[in-house]
Amino acid sequence: MYKIEAIIQPFKLEGVREALKAIQIDGLTITEVRGHGRQKGHKEVYRGREYNVDLLPKIKLEMVIPADRKDEVIRTLIGAARTGSIGDGKIFVSEIADAIRIRNDDRGEAAL
């Protein structure tokens, strides 16, 4: 099992969700987050004073998937979230030791 964390541009969320649905990835958690990578921020000007806005709004998607679907999911995410410009986001992949369904004690991939 792998956990995929994808940080994407907020306006890409709809497209990414549709793409994941199309390959039957149904379990998904979404958070509104703020942060920056190399993109850094932008400048805003209020009454002539410049402010650096470093922390940009992004969407973080988290999903835990069976091991054999990892590459497919990553390919789908990239395909749906890429614009080619700076600020497109990142995908992090980590191994998951176990998963438990609270309702009935299912374990491992059966719980996904």
Binding site: E44, V45, Y46, R47, G48, R49, Y51, N52, V53
Partner: protein, 460 residues
């Protein structure tokens, strides 16, 4: 035939005239009373609406305009500083404030003839507003006394402490607003152009009384209380231009009550002031946007509304004296100069007037006071009469150059009272309660530490 008719008519008319005196006199008296009462009804309706409009400028207008410009943690505290004036100044006004402004008294301060509003009832006060109840006049003028200290609070919106600022505002009303308002508008006031002043100043709706006095007091208060912690190295972005936007639009609408209401009647002068107000505001908004576009590359929403407020503050003094295109010119100058004040001059001097009360109201008020001396004309306002009974020339465009030094004297006296009175009020307050929020509380924010609430409660 015609001889008969003429005779008949003569007979008829002589019969009428014989019976006339009593009946017609009584009817004329009844007619006069009816005309007077319907004029009073019209004027009173407009003045009550104007009173409500001016109150709306403080809450929610100014409260929203200001609270959007502070950080999230100070949103309620900033709104409260405006709102508290609606409560505190009202009571001070009722007890003795009204009397100190509009009682005849001395040239510098009124007397106590209207203490506890004694004698302020349905009967009009002929010297001030002969067609509306004295009580309407009283409540209308109160709204000006409320908004003026509420404006000052914007200069220390984030470091100011609630209790200290409220107490300061009460002292300030006595030391600055009451004397300045009496001098300009009170019967026998030193600067009153209409009721026996030594130096005649034209201040239609409070350019000197409200904007110069609050703007310069704001600068003194900002310097006295000091910068926000971390200013200017730390970023202190406005948290919601949306709130400020709504507030500024309410201010614009409320300002019709402020300026057009200052005609104190539903008259053509009120219309003229209404038009000048609207044109001044529009020109101010446009001019600030253009200046910003040229200097910074983008015309911002905050810039547009700041320009409108600058235009409104600047046209206030001359609203009932100037023609529509003079108002446009005044607004254009206001937008550009105030933009320069808050973007360049403030940084050069390094003071932290957190919401630019000085740059917009103080400077706008001063420009408006001076330009009224140029553009005031009897073509708009013919109330001031010469000894011969003709209407007096008002400003430079009427050929009356002396009005400019008169206006500047008025402004100088207003500024002197504002600076000295504010310093005294701050010193006295400082001896009783702290004026500045504690260092630790400043980073947590006023909302939680001073009011025990949060503006945006995400756990609710």
């Amino acid at each position: 035939m015609s001889y008969r008719i003429v005779t008949g008519l003569l007979l008829l008319s002589s019969a009428l005239f014989a019976r006339a005196p009593e009946g017609i006199e009584a009817e004329l008296a009844a007619l006069r009373a009816a005309v007077k009462s319907s004029q009073s009804a019209g004027d009173n309706a407009w003045m009550l609406i104007s009173s409500a409009l001016v109150l709306m400028m403080t809450g929610p207008g100014l409260a929203l305009f200001y609270c959007g410009l502070v950080r999230k943690r100070n949103v309620l505290g900033t709104m409260m500083q405006s709102f508290a004036m609606m409560a505190v100044i009202t009571l001070v006004w009722a007890v003795c404030g009204y009397s100190l402004v509009f009682g005849e008294g001395t040239p510098f301060i009124g007397d106590l003839r209207y203490l506890f509003l004694r004698g302020v009832g349905a009967e009009p006060n002929a010297a001030y507003a002969p067609t509306i109840p004295h009580q309407t006049f009283m409540i209308y003028q109160l709204m000006f006394a409320i908004i003026t200290p509420a404006l000052i609070a914007g200069a220390v919106a984030e470091p100011g402490r609630f209790g200290g600022m409220v107490l300061f505002s009460a002292f300030w009303a006595f030391l600055v607003f009451f004397p300045v308002a009496h001098m300009v508008w009170g019967n026998g006031g030193f600067l009153n152009a209409y009721l026996g002043g030594k130096v005649p100043v034209f201040d239609f709706a409070g350019g000197t009384v409200v904007h110069i006095s609050s703007g310069f007091s704001a600068l003194v208060t900002a310097l006295y209380i000091g910068k926000r912690r971390g200013y200017p190295s730390q970023q202190m972005m406005p948290h919601s231009i949306v709130l400020s936007f709504v507030g500024a639009c309410l201010l614009w609408v409320g300002w019709f009550g402020f300026n057009a209401g200052s005609a104190l009647a539903a008259s053509s002068l009120a219309t003229s002031a209404f038009v000048a107000t609207h044109f001044g505001s529009a020109a101010g908004a446009l001019s600030w946007m253009l200046a910003e576009k040229l200097r910074k590359g983008k015309a911002s929403a905050l810039g547009a509304i700041s320009g409108a407020v600058a235009g409104l503050a600047t046209i206030t003094q001359g609203a009932g004296f100037v023609q529509p295109f003079s108002a446009v010119l005044i607004g254009l100058i206001a937008g550009a100069v105030c933009f320069y004040m808050v973007t360049a001059v403030k940084d050069r001097f390094g003071y932290d007037d957190s919401l630019d009360v000085f740059g917009v109201h103080g400077v706008g008020g001063l420009i408006g006071c001076t330009l009224t001396g140029f553009f005031a004309t009897r073509a708009v306002n013919s109330a001031l009469k010469l000894a011969s009974g003709q209407s007096a020339p008002l400003g430079v465009i009427d050929g009356h150059w002396m009005q400019v030094p008169n206006q500047l004297t008025g402004a100088a006296i207003g500024i002197a009272f504002a600076v000295v009175g504010t310093l005294i009020a701050l010193k006295i307050t400082d001896l009783i309660v702290p004026l500045r929020i504690a260092e630790r509380d400043e980073s947590t924010g006023m909302d939680l530490t001073l009011h025990g609430e949060e503006g945006y409660n995400f756990e609710a």
